[in-house]
Each structure stands twice: as C-alpha cells, then as structure tokens.
Point group: C2
Chain length 346, copies 2
C-alpha cells in the first residue's frame, strides 16, 4: 500500500490501515517521514494521557478501565502499551492483558503494543510518532501505558498532555522509593488496589509531600523538569502559594472492579480544561513541535553521515593507526567532523 | 586538577585521581575527550568481563567473589556496577553491596557505581569510556556488572571481552523466559544459588539448548550478533560441528559462599586465551575502535549542530508556521539539514 493511500484511508474505523501506518513509523520503513509529515496538519484532536508507575501497580487494568469509561462517554480510544523489552522477562503483565480482552473487541478501541528494540530515535521519539498517527486518524483519547522500569519510560510519560502516576499500597516503602523527578511528572496520582491495607496512609503521604512542595521548591522542581505552571486552579481551594498552579489530586481506585475509574476520567478532563485555560497546553504543544523538529534533524544528520557521506570509509582508512595507538578515535573523529563540516571532500 | 595532571597520575594506586577522571568522563566535563584521547595509547592491558542476568540472580555477590579470587591470584581489579536508575526503586541490591564491603576495603580493588542519567552518548558508550580510563590506569581485570533489566544493559554486557550470564533456578520458567539474543551474548553460563532445587535441571536445560544450537543455526545467530567464532576449542570434546568455536560452559555456583567461583575465573581466563589464539579478540578490538569512532563522530556532530550552528534559530523562526499546520517538522528539519550540509548560511 502506498504512503498516500495509507494517509487517505487513515481513520479510526480502519484498523488494518492503522496497523500498517504504525508499523511503517515504528520500523522507520521507507516513506515514514512523508507519512508523518502528512499526519501533521491533522494533529491536535486527540488528548494524550500517559499512565505510568512501578511494575505490578495495575497500570494495564487501569488503562483498560479508563478506556471503557471513555467509550461509555461516546469517545474513541487508542491504547499504546509500551513494552520495555527486558531481555529477562517476568511476564507478569500478561494476566492483565488477557483479562481485559473485552475492551479490545470493541471497534472503538484500538490497542497497540510497542516494541522498543530497533527504534531509530529512541523509545520516546517513536512513541510520540505513533501517537501522531493515531491522532491524525481521529481518535479522541490516546492512552499511553508505560511499564515504569527506566528513565526512558518516564520520558514517554512526560510527553503526554496529562500524566497519571499509579501506585499501590505495597509499592516498597511508600513514596520514599520514588526517585527524584517522578513525583513531579504526575498530574494525577492514583492509589490503586485501594482495598488493601495502607492505601489511605499512602494517599496521605503523597498529599503531605505535595503540600510540602507546593511553595517555591515545588514550583522550582516543576520548572526544572520543563513543566510550567498552569494559571487555572484545580478542584477545591488550594493553599495560597499554589493558587497559580494545578493541584495534582490523589485518588483512590480499585481498577479491577472499576471502582474510582469515573473520578480518574473526570480528573483527566479537568486537568485538560485547566491546561487549555491557562495556556499551559499551548506551551506544551510549542515545546513539543520544537523538540520533534530537533529530533528529526538529528536523525537526518545521522542518516546523511552514515549512509551518504564517506565518513565510514575515512574511519576505516585509519583503523590500523588507531589499533597501533598512534592516533586516538577522538582525533580521527574530530578530523572526520571537520571534513564533513568543510564539505571539502564530499 | 588539569587534564594533563590527571593523565600523568592515573594509576591503580591513586583512587582519588581515578574517581576524578571517571567523573570527568561520565559527566562529559570540559576536556573529557582529551582525557580519553590520552588514555588511548595505554589501552589493552585490562581484560573486560561483563556480568549480567536477571534481577535477584546474585550478580553483585558473584562479581565481588570473582574480584576476590582475582586478588588471590595477585591481580588488580576494577568493578563497574551499572545501575539502570529505575525511577521506581526496589533497592534489593543494596543488601549484597553492603555485605561485600570487605572487598572494597582492599586497595587493589576499585569499585565504581555508574549512574545512567544524563550520560551524553548512552549507557553503553559511557560505560565503555569509563572502562578505558580504568584500563589506562593499569587494572588487570575490569568486571562490569549490569542489572539486566533492559536492552541497554545487555549492550553493556556485549561490549566486554568475555560475558558471564548469571541465572538462578527460580528465574521464571527457566531459559524459556530469556528473550532471543540473550543466550547468544553469553560466553560463560553460571547457574547461581546452585543448592536450590532445580539448579541441575536448569544447567541441563541450558546445555541442551546450546547443543541444539551448536550447528549452523547457532553459528548463524552468533554471527548475526557480531560474534565471530573462535577457532580454539573449549574444554572437553565438543561435537564435530562446533569444533570451530568456543563452547560456552555451564557452571554451577553458590556465590554467597564462594563455591564454584575459582572455576568461573578459570573459565574466564580460558575464554580469553581461546580468543587470543583464534584472533577473535583482535577482531573484537577492531570492531570496538570503529564503533567508538562512530560514536564520537555522532556526538561531535550533535554538539556542532546544537551549540555552534544556527539550527535552533532556524527552527525557532518557523514554529508558528508548524503550529498552524502550514508546514511539518519533517519539512522544516529537511530544510535545516540541507542548509547545514550546504554550509551556505554558516
């Protein structure tokens, strides 16, 4: 199927075309950048919601319940499940996935698992581009579920319009186990499996920590992570020093039974409205388009250097010298870059 | 301290200088490439041994026991422990680390934990460069311990001269849980915690799997992963179709008590000798120096584009157009790359 045909037929109700478009993008097949360029004018409809948290927190179940709730509200949903492809699998998630098949039989829900190996520009880049395809196709909501085992998964969560951090009472020793930077990416906290002992204690712990950070320190941390503060207030009456920003709510849920899921969806929608009103979302979009362009420039440069320029030959010509210790890779690299910049030998 | 001074004083018995040199490299501080270039002529003494495996396999304990065994043999050892910095910590490794402090009080052992955030060229690149510093300092053996939770940790293991894969009887459902590519990176298998039920079963399972793959299929897989086959045989008498290659031994161990550790060290040394004899190690060194030069070229290009060229300004000038959907990031990026290549507006 030609790229133009794919673009013309890219719609929510054409899952085969969707799957094809995504796989072109995911694997960087010929024409993938033309496909993405064609998607660009159609972007902006979908709201992107990141769901992250430690393994075993029930993210997959929660994501599917949230999808079902959106369906009840008449909206179409895409789920992008990011698998960090550990070479040593545990397979613990599979149970959840199978259990939630009911959702995947609904034609208004499109589900895609992302492999992470071999992606050209890293996990976050590829995920963003897959979300662009889904956005262009016309989905109302895109749920990005990441198994939070590494920094790159956290980067994926951070690229969303709204990030939901799912924790469970037994997550280690509570929020002390969260490394710095994790609390700050969350727009909404969910304490899942809330019928288990310690759920309310964890909720209070998070609220206290957020309270402590609500002043300048918190604002500084958010700014450091590239999150500017929304002007619109959250629900309830926030303390004075936080009146300029969104107050991340800390919600209790029991995703397996669907308990608390409507409140989560409401919080997501409220966060979106607050972001629109304050200009925060516009700011995120602007940063995203700059970041995207930088990524593509980096990728195109790599392609130029390694596929079209003589850089590899230049390196090959000097391997013996390097092995003999007469010259270092750093000196050879500097020569290569100088030659590339000068364009003299191109 | 000046880079030249660091280089002049870089020695096994100067831990403060070592720590300084590593932190310059790890954080890409000014002069780090000059430092690495200065290390280059002094490379080649150290043997690099990767230790990987699933969480909980006892890699840290094993690594420290192997270090102690090398010390008994009068060799100096550096340990590089790669922490994948999950934003959601479990902290399970800490116990092992504390328990093994005895080794860290030995001045012939240098231990360094690697953070992975903020590294310029990715985990594998930075780890390799840190190993270069340790090699140049004169360590006889470098043990690289990676917590095997992701592809990048596996990449780290693959860069070693010898890779030890540590498994335990309770590793999921045995070797079925290992994703493709994992078996193939291992030069030596260790079934740790071998007093637990299922250890010998796992050992046999691995041996059977290796046996199945010993023919062309296995050779093809190894070749695909850039591992050419050593000409010298392993221990025992390998089946005819494998006589051209190293036979990965499958060893039982109980690292906590040190049981089986001398055999592991002997296997590592034997693997090294086989690799030297067959030319395999020379081949790995050649590939490594090319790979290194490519990485440095990539890094220098990025630095040029984003710090010295007007690329960021060109992108900034067209943000409004992109937000309006009039032009896509892919078209803008292509224009930027064309301008960079032409050098016209530099």
């Amino acid at each position: 199927m030609q790229i133009d045909t794919v673009l013309a037929e890219l719609r929510v109700d054409r899952p085969a075309v969707l799957a094809r478009a995504i796989s072109v993008v995911e694997n960087g097949r010929p024409g993938f950048e033309r496909l993405l360029a064609g998607c660009h004018p159609r972007l902006g409809r979908a709201r992107r919601i990141g769901v992250t948290g430690p393994p075993g927190a029930g993210k997959s179940t929660l994501t599917h319940r949230v999808a079902a709730e959106y369906r009840r509200r008449g909206l179409t949903v895409a789920i992008v499940a990011v698998d960090p492809t550990s070479p040593f699998t545990g397979g613990a998630l599979l149970g959840d996935r199978i259990r939630m098949e009911a959702v995947s039989l609904d034609p208004g829900v499109f589900i895609r698992s992302m492999a992470t190996r071999g992606s050209l520009g890293g996990l976050a880049t590829t995920t963003r581009e897959v979300c662009d395809v889904l956005d262009a196709a016309g989905f109302d909501r895109i749920l990005i579920e990441t198994v939070g085992v590494g920094q790159s998964e956290l980067d994926v969560a951070k690229m969303a319009d709204t990030t939901v951090l799912v924790l469970v009472p037994e997550s280690g020793d509570g929020i002390q186990t969260l490394k710095s930077g994790v609390m700050e990416v969350a727009d909404i906290f969910v304490v899942n499996k809330a019928d288990r002992p310690g759920a309310e204690k964890l909720q209070q712990e998070i609220e206290v920590t957020l309270g402590i950070r609500r002043g300048n320190a918190y604002r500084r941390i958010r700014a450091h992570h590239g999150v500017s503060l929304a002007k619109a207030g959250g629900q309830g009456s926030p303390p004075p020093e936080a009146s300029a920003g969104w107050e991340p709510p800390v919600l209790l849920a029991k995703a397996l039974d669907g308990d608390g899921v409507p409140s989560i969806v409401e919080a997501i929608e409220r966060h979106h409205q607050a972001g629109e009103a304050s200009g925060e979302l516009g700011e995120r979009r602007r940063r995203r388009v700059v970041e995207r362009t930088r990524e593509v420039v980096g990728r195109m440069l790599q392609r130029w250097v390694w596929s079209e320029s003589p850089a590899d030959r230049w390196i090959g010509d000097r391997v013996e010298e390097m092995l003999a210790g007469a010259v270092s890779p750093y000196e050879v690299a500097a020569d290569v870059v100088t030659s590339l910049r000068e364009g003299a030998r191109l």
